[in-house]
């Protein structure tokens, strides 16, 4: 446990300047982007290199102190919510790009490197790091890895896991392991694939080998405005049926459009009930050819306005609105919950109608932004937290939306992970045997349940002994 002996050991490593213990110092770490949850840890330590992290984890294991690794704290599922009896290990200073190999198309980076900084470093070589969650200006690759972050380009490019080649990690009991490597191929089971998205429950990834891709030669982006959300959804179906593979397909509803406009003035048509953004990317001659086909298909779907991005600045403006949507809805409402369910694409229209009905039944407005290409919804549930009952009501509505996604044959989370937020719904997606298998793996890697506890599994489930 966190006692004076343990504290003294930490102080020996970190000294007072990198070990935070006062309430004022701890305050910024008490929550991440799931702001309705706050927990004060016993201390926050700020390592400057991998050895300090390894030593800290070993100390925690010896003294049985739980620990939570934290990057930039942008998790929307409470993935880096502290544990009251434990410490937070803040990893932002492990931010070295150790090696960038343009010919092998890979980079070896420390866990605290910011997502977008990888692409910035790769840009002079015509390469980039494809996973682009909207928080990529701030979020760290370690966090992306822990939660298998997504973004707007997942249908064509996959998620973070599809771009990780190798991991050096310290497991919860202090063993340092290297899994994967630098090749795109492996012999043996995909242990890297298991580690990515394990929500910090196995240990801490220290050094990560990421795959880089050549930057697409051409982007063609179109924005289409519809008088109904359903029409926008149907347009997506026809784009896909035409055999096209866009880099991104996004939809926003009227509430989200108004919020984004108020925040960043992307020039969105304010009366659109549904706004569709479709982007093709790739080799110039192929994109130009496919774009004609795309415009035809979209034209036939009946938008009342159609805009094609004329240049890179135009394209950036279109995306700025979409990427700011979450923070922008803060203007519409004092508080909000953002959900992350997935449904099969063909069920999008029906799901949106049901969400609207649910919102009406609860008397709570819901703004909708979603990755239409992969069926990943982000209903933004708007409420006023000053009313004590509203948070509970909003959470109930959120739960109903998740159940709806499962009923449609989808998932309770497309990219934010389970974290703290969706623990109680995991057993609605997986049965006891499924969860036992996952828990058994977790226990084999973290027998004392010290690494990021309280995430993914309900407490009772976590302590359930495997016989």
């Amino acid at each position: 446990m966190f006692n004076s002996k343990f504290s003294a050991e930490l102080l020996r490593i970190y000294h007072e300047d990198r070990m935070l213990t006062s309430p004022a110092q701890l305050a910024p770490y008490e929550s991440d982007a799931l702001t309705s949850f706050q927990v004060r840890p016993k201390a926050v330590v700020i390592p400057e290199d991998q050895d300090e992290v390894i030593e800290t984890v070993r100390l925690c294991h010896e003294h049985e102190v739980p620990f939570v690794a934290r990057g930039s704290g942008t998790s929307l599922s409470g993935g880096s919510l502290p544990v009251a009896e434990g410490i937070v290990i803040a990893l932002n200073r492990l931010n070295r790009i150790i090696r960038l190999d343009p010919e092998q198309r890979l980079a070896v980076v420390e866990c605290g490197v910011i997502n977008l900084d990888i692409s910035k470093a790769a840009a002079p070589f015509g390469l980039y790091f494809a996973p682009d969650p909207s928080s990529q200006l701030i979020c760290t690759i370690g966090g992306n890895l822990a939660f298998n972050s997504g973004g707007a380009h997942c249908l064509k490019y996959g998620m973070t896991s599809n771009h990780i080649l190798g991991i050096k990690a310290v497991l919860a009991d202090g063993e340092v392991v290297s899994i994967g490597g630098e090749s795109l191929e492996q012999t043996g089971p995909d242990l890297v694939g298991l580690f990515v998205g394990s929500e910090g429950l196995f240990g801490i990834a220290l050094e990560i080998t990421v795959r880089l891709l050549p930057k697409p030669e051409r982007y063609k982006t179109v924005l289409a405005a519809y008088s109904s959300l359903e029409a926008a959804g149907n347009a997506v179906a026809t784009v896909v049926a035409a055999g096209l593979l866009p880099g991104a397909i996004e939809i926003m509803d009227n509430l989200a459009i108004k919020a984004a406009e108020a925040a960043v003035k992307a020039g969105y048509p304010l009366d659109a009930e549904g706004l569709l953004i479709v982007e093709l990317d790739g080799e110039a001659s192929v994109v130009e050819h496919e774009f004609s086909a795309l415009l035809e298909v979209i034209d036939e779907s009946g938008p009342y306005e159609l805009r094609v991005a004329q240049d890179e600045a135009d394209r950036m403006r279109i995306w700025k609105g979409r990427k700011s949507a979450f923070s922008a809805v803060g203007r519409l409402s004092p508080d909000y919950l953002v959900q992350d369910g997935v449904v099969p694409r063909s069920k999008l229209g029906e799901t949106l109608r049901e969400i609207q009905k649910l919102g009406e039944r609860y008397g709570i407005p819901v703004a909708n932004v979603f990755h239409a290409g992969d069926g990943n919804l982000h209903p933004l549930i708007l409420f006023d937290g000053r009313d004590p009952h509203m948070l509970e009501k909003a959470e109930d509505l959120a739960g109903e939306i998740l159940r709806l996604c499962l009923k449609m044959g989808g998932s309770i989370t497309g990219e934010h992970g389970i974290g703290v937020e969706k623990k109680k719904y995991l057993s609605e997606m997986f049965n006891q045997d499924d969860l036992d298998a996952m828990r058994a793996i977790r226990l084999a890697l973290d027998p004392k349940l010290l690494s990021n506890p309280g995430k993914m599994f309900l407490e009772a489930q976590s302590l359930h002994a495997i016989t």
């Binding site: 064509k156 795109l184 089971p189 790739g282 192929v286 992350d340 045997d433 298998a437 890697l445």
Partner: protein, 359 residues
């Protein structure tokens, strides 16, 4: 050999036999050990369960032949982007996942691991475990579908799989360039890694005298000629262009590993382009045939004689190998890594070691 036809039969088998290894199409016979193990055929678990082309996903039982799936997808203008090999030798979906083998075409969009979405399998306790999901984007629970990729039966018997698929390119062209020496190959490879033309395959064929680079592009037919012209200017050497049925046949033969002589071993060796020269100088003149795929991220070696010689060289190079064809000697060759991590996961999913491990 057992061939259960129901889940209950399968459960009965795993709970009552000491050690089992699942097999199906036997298209990759080198992956099954010959020692005293009972084999369990999964061929009765067959059939496509769900397929909605507009979803870009399909679900099928593990014993379903890839040829059946390939045909069904093709009818709907779709394909398996990870290009599984040995389709004509009877490969099944479960074997594709358990072996983790992707073909030359994986260069464009990714390998087996990048397209597996959901797996249902039977663990070492006879429990049916569902993992992943049926939608293209999913972050719920541990990614056991990825773990099952390349698992070779160690964690359980795969029962059902859900894969993501993509629209099939309407047309293909292949450019073959003959080169005299490996340094030229290296130089072209480096240039092609920055090629704006998007490549589906980037393979290197070797003979003792010369090399050739095979580059495949796919997409709509209209821009194709322009793209080939562009690729020609980029490579800037005499090249032959294949199209139509002969082009298709070329890659089918590659996929069936027709180039591996009878009686030779076939071993998969993950590599990186930077080590190509070193690899070539190690194996040239040993009698081994070599073919490189995925932009030299993968080496395929056809080896003759005692496998020990290959094993030793791979250990010296600190590379790992997997025996795909051939029945003598070890299946896992060369340097093995992450053993303790693997052992922990194995003990979690199969604590009684009922599912045999290949060596």
């Amino acid at each position: 050999m057992l061939q259960p036809s129901t889940i209950e039969d399968l459960r009965e088998a795993i709970l009552n036999r000491p050690r089992l290894i699942p097999i199906a199409g036997s298209s990759k016979p080198g992956l099954t050990p010959v020692d005293d193990l009972e084999t369990l055929s999964m061929l009765s678990f067959t059939g496509v369960l769900e397929y909605e082309p507009s979803e870009y996903t399909f679900t099928a039982r593990a014993g379903t032949r890839v040829s059946e799936v390939e045909a069904l997808l093709s009818e709907n203008g779709q394909y398996l982007p990870f290009d599984p090999p040995f389709i004509d030798k009877g490969a099944t979906l479960g074997g594709v996942l358990a072996s983790g083998l992707s073909g030359s075409g994986r260069y464009r969009y990714g390998g087996v691991r990048d397209f597996i979405l959901g797996v249902v399998f039977m663990d070492g306790r006879g429990r049916v475990i569902k993992s992943g999901g049926k939608v293209v984007k999913n972050a719920a629970g541990f990614d056991l579908p990825k773990l099952m990729t390349g698992s070779l039966g160690a964690f359980g018997a795969i029962l059902e799989l859900t894969f993501k698929v993509f629209p099939k390119p309407a047309a293909y062209r292949t450019m073959v360039t003959k080169l005299d020496d490996i340094n030229q190959v290296r130089e072209i490879l480096a240039r092609l890694s920055l090629s704006p033309v998007e490549l589906h395959c980037l393979d290197i064929e070797t003979t003792e005298e010369a090399y050739s680079i095979s580059v495949r592009i796919g997409g709509p037919p209209e821009p194709m000629e322009g793209r080939i012209a562009r690729l020609r200017r980029f490579i800037n050497l005499d090249s032959e262009v294949l199209s139509g049925t002969s082009e298709e046949l070329y890659w089918r033969k590659v996929s069936n590993f027709d180039w591996v002589p009878q009686g030779f071993y076939l071993v998969k060796v993950p590599l990186t382009p930077g080590r190509l020269l070193e690899f070539e100088s190690t194996f040239r003149g040993t009698g081994a045939l070599r073919r490189y795929t995925t932009g030299a991220n993968l080496a395929w070696i056809a080896w003759t004689g005692d496998l020990q010689g290959l094993d030793e060289r791979l250990c010296q190079l600190n590379l790992s190998g997997l025996r795909i064809i051939g029945r003598q000697g070890p299946i896992k060759l060369g340097a093995q890594s992450a053993l303790t991590f693997y052992r922990r996961v194995k003990s979690a999913l199969d604590p009684d070691h009922r599912w045999a491990e290949v060596n």
